[in-house]
């Protein structure tokens, strides 16, 4: 049996320009983007159709806090690409270190989001009371669920990296978790703009 037989993991050996894993992740991200766009579309349509958008007594969102959360996700995207760069060079210590930094960024983001939600709920914001509250909690909650799953996914990859599972030649799972994490960052960029920055008047 020839050792050069094409394998599923080696796109160079087949006519495909990418691995099945990468295609699968992009198909997932494409369908996930449809889910997010559905929620974002619902938010936009509700906001345009509802006057006034903010009901009397509804609290105002804290821009400085969420700007900090945005900066945090951008930083975690950088640590993620640094993790991948270390994986490509076969530097296990660097890979684990940057994956841990990315996980820390995700955990701090979730902590800040929990703080924000608690503050807003205590200030009277409710998903049942107005479209303003309902769309806010759905959209940011759906994104927060993605950050949570991203942190869990990263933790699994980090554990495997610590055990020496990945090499300079074989580190596809690190690239795939990176795609997911950057997608989460990209979606937050859009949510931050439409939910927090666009003024009512």
């Amino acid at each position: 049996m020839s050792t050069s037989m094409p394998t599923h993991a080696d796109p160079q050996a087949t006519s495909w320009p990418f691995t099945p894993g990468k295609l699968g992740m992009w198909l997932f991200l494409g369908s996930d983007a449809m889910g997010f766009m559905g929620l974002i579309g619902a938010y936009m349509v509700s906001r345009i159709a509802t006057t006034p958008w903010k009901q009397p007594g509804d609290p105002t969102f804290g821009i400085p806090l969420t700007a900090g959360m945005t900066f945090l996700l951008i930083c975690s995207s950088v640590t993620m690409v640094m993790a991948l760069s270390n994986a490509q060079r076969g530097n296990r210590k660097g890979l684990v270190r940057y994956l841990l930094a990315t996980i820390a960024g995700g955990l701090i983001f979730l902590g800040l989001q929990a703080f924000e939600w608690t503050h807003l709920i205590h200030s009277g914001l409710s998903a049942a009371k107005s479209s303003y509250g309902a769309t806010f909690f759905w959209l940011t909650g759906f994104h927060g669920a993605h950050v949570t799953s991203g942190v869990i996914y990263l933790s699994c990859i980090c554990r495997a990296a610590g055990k020496g599972r990945y090499t300079a030649e074989d580190h596809s799972p690190v690239e795939l978790v990176g795609l997911f994490w950057h997608f989460v960052d990209l979606v937050w960029i859009v949510i931050f703009t439409i939910v927090y920055l666009i003024p009512e008047h």
Binding site: W26, A33, V45, L197
Partner: protein, 94 residues
């Protein structure tokens, strides 16, 4: 993938994203101060968000170095959703 982008490129993109975020934060108060129409402020914010998102997609997700086939895999669902949102907008405007 890829691997075409260097660490220097990644760090440059990071600085750019941070600067664009600061500009975004300044747009609503400056627009209000200058008496700009809301539509102008919203357009500016939309352009800045699209700019930032495109850098994350192109460089951090390595789309800049991917094949057209992969672009099609991603582009088709996004196009369909855009059609859906545009389809619903007339209802909202009524």
């Amino acid at each position: 993938m890829s691997g075409h982008a260097t660490i220097r490129t990644y760090l440059r993109i990071f600085v750019l994203l941070a600067v664009l975020t600061l500009v975004e934060l300044a747009v609503p108060p400056v627009g209000h101060g200058l008496g700009l129409w809301k539509s102008v402020t919203v357009t500016l914010l939309g352009v800045l968000a699209a700019w930032k998102a495109s850098y994350v997609g192109l460089y951090y997700m390595h789309l800049k170095y991917e094949t057209k086939l992969l672009w099609g895999v991603i582009g088709l669902p996004l196009f369909l959703v855009l059609v859906m949102v545009i389809g619903f907008l007339p209802d909202a405007l009524h």
